[in-house]
């Protein structure tokens, strides 16, 4: 009797757990459904090509124009700018941690990089708007400090820890024997680093860069506060722009539920979702292949 009671309890726990597990998956899956349900109706009004390739974003004009090319290009621009900051800084720091830092120094520096990663994006945005923007405006003599350049710079600083930690992981997976073989052939530390370690960790490092990009594309508060907000096709780095995330955050509060503008903002979110999804999938498949190549399993 007691034994069957035990069996019953086991089954009960198993089922409760599976229900909880699947309900969390249900939540996560419903995000995609909601995005499509609320976003697709805009394509009855504007065809997909006009939406993505349209040069004018005037959602509140009469008649409204829903062309997100300025927003797409702005997102592309600030992401590119941020990459110029976070790729050298992130990979350089990872190389430093892996090659130069002593054991103790490495431990401290890694914690510092991690802390940098945990600072909320609103703090970066605030730091940008309160300290960096006035500083840059004076330094470079700009008409406005709220521009793609400031946003890129802050986004780049923000993505540096992501690139650094993941690259550092990849570098630390490179087997010691690779390095020893290179030293035995008479190469010095820098040659070994450039010719042996970096190529061996190359795919891990590239997946770090892609994840950094994905973080930058989806970042909202920094671009909302720093990019300036003008929905025009960007020409230089020193004029205000409005990336996709900033458009969603700035305009969602004012639109009427169910209006064309509302659906258009959800359609932007679909595109954003799709871009980050593709980045993450690429990064994951690269790093899986890499781990298999070095014989580390899944």
């Amino acid at each position: 009797m007691k034994f069957s009671m035990r069996g019953f309890k086991e089954k009960l726990y198993r089922n409760v757990l599976s229900i909880l597990a699947f309900s969390s998956l249900f939540f996560l899956g419903s995000i995609v459904l909601v995005l499509f349900k609320e976003g697709l109706p805009i394509f009855k009004k504007v065809n997909f090509f006009e939406f993505v390739w349209g040069r004018f974003w005037y959602p509140t004009y009469e008649p409204p124009e829903f062309g997100i090319l300025p927003l797409l290009l702005a997102s592309f621009q600030v992401t590119l700018g941020a990459m110029f900051v976070c790729v050298p800084l992130g990979i350089g720091s990872a190389l430093y941690l892996n090659e130069i830092a002593s054991f103790k120094q490495r431990k401290i520096m890694k914690s510092l990089v991690e802390i940098l990663a945990m600072i909320p994006s609103i703090i970066y945005g605030f730091f940008g708007i309160a300290i960096l923007v006035p500083f840059l405006q004076n330094l470079l003599n700009l008409p406005t400090g709220l521009c793609a350049f400031s946003a890129s710079l802050v986004l780049g600083i923000m993505a540096t820890p992501t690139v650094c930690s993941i690259s550092e992981d990849a570098l630390s997976y490179v087997p010691r024997s690779f390095k020893e073989a290179s030293f035995a052939l008479g190469a010095n530390r820098w040659q070994t680093l450039v010719k042996v370690v970096i190529p061996a960790a190359g795919s891990g490092i590239s997946s770090a860069v892609i994840l950094g990009m994905s973080r930058v594309v989806g970042e909202t508060m920094v671009v909302l506060m720093l990019a300036g907000g003008a929905a025009v096709i960007p020409k230089t780095f020193f004029e205000p722009v409005r990336p996709m995330t900033a458009a969603i955050a700035a305009e969602m509060g004012e639109v009427a539920m169910g209006s064309d503008h509302y659906h258009a903002l959800f359609a932007i979110a679909i595109i954003l979702f799709f871009i980050t999804f593709v980045f993450n999938v690429i990064a994951e498949s690269i790093s899986r292949k890499y781990r298999l190549k070095l014989g580390l399993g899944q």
């Binding site: 597990a21 309900s23 419903s30 995005l35 909320p120 600083i157 820098w190 506060m225 995330t245 999804f277």
Partner: protein, 285 residues
């Protein structure tokens, strides 16, 4: 000779990169602490805002952030841990489980503003919770769910198989093994994940823009269906709205210092816990 020279240049370049990264961290902390400390006082922490946000305290924003964080953890914790236990211990190693893992990993990378849109549609409008603590907490809960699942997942997978086998061979059932052996062993890892999620939730702004936060409230929120002030949103609003930017920026520095302090406190506890319990069994990270 040439190769020594290139090594020197290369090493100085990567040292410079490390230096700049750390410099950025310290300059952010430095500027916020130096400017923020001037406005921090007991009144600042415990009183209501006064004179159109240009004076007084930020107590309702601190309380609001506390409610939102607490609410989101209440929702996401049981779901997340249950999901991790199920995936690691019960689910058969099948194609479906791989898809599930894959989608959880990818949802962790979805931009937070997208979660905000989801919360707006489902919680605020469809379920009719309105702009409220409840809607905001639920939105934040879904945002951190993938983080909690993957942290718990990792912690549970790092428990050596031999411990489970030892317990099962003593006649314990699967659930008893999970409860008495697996979970206690994985606890530090799970805890680290939870603390990190708390830090993340406290600082998130985009998801609560349309689901919970307002710039000004008379008094404290009365129920879970009330609108709420929150520290991160308050910083944003002080910098972009209102009529007295010069006075508001001082208050914003104060808010930023409090938020930074809270988040760094949580993160350093998490880092400490993890380093202390790392490799307790000699393998796993």
């Amino acid at each position: 000779m040439k190769k020594e020279f290139s090594q020197k240049i290369g090493f100085s370049f990567i040292s410079l990169c490390m230096f700049l990264t750390v410099l950025f961290l310290f300059s952010i902390i430095f500027f916020i602490v130096v400017n923020g400390i001037r406005v921090i006082s007991w009144e600042f922490l415990t009183q209501m805002p006064k004179e159109a946000m240009t004076a007084g305290g930020i107590a309702p924003a601190i309380v609001g952030t506390f409610y939102l964080t607490l609410g989101s953890i209440i929702f996401s914790l049981p779901l997340g841990i249950a999901c991790a236990i199920y995936l690691c211990e019960y689910s058969p190693k099948s194609y479906v489980v791989n898809i599930i893992r894959f989608s959880i990993n990818n949802l962790a990378g979805v931009p937070s503003v997208v979660f905000g849109l989801f919360g707006l549609t489902i919680f605020v409008k469809y379920l009719g919770f309105g702009v409220s603590i409840l809607s905001g907490s639920l939105t934040l809960a879904i945002l951190v769910l993938p983080l909690i699942i993957s942290a718990s997942n990792e912690a549970i997978l790092a428990v050596p198989q031999s411990l489970r086998e030892a317990s099962l061979s003593l006649g314990a059932t699967k659930w008893q093994t999970i409860k008495k052996v697996v979970l206690p062993t994985a606890l530090p890892g799970i805890l680290t994940g939870i603390i990190l999620s708390i830090g993340r939730t406290a600082g998130e702004t985009a998801p609560i823009l349309f689901t919970a936060a307002v710039f000004y409230l008379k008094g404290y929120p009365k129920s879970i269906f009330s609108e709420v002030m929150a520290l991160p949103y308050h910083i944003y609003a002080l910098m972009t709205e209102g009529l007295y930017p010069d006075k508001q920026v001082k208050i914003a520095f104060g808010c930023a210092l409090i938020l930074l302090f809270l988040v760094l406190l949580f993160s350093s506890v998490a880092i400490y816990l993890r380093n202390k319990h790392k490799n307790i069994y000699g393998y796993g990270n």
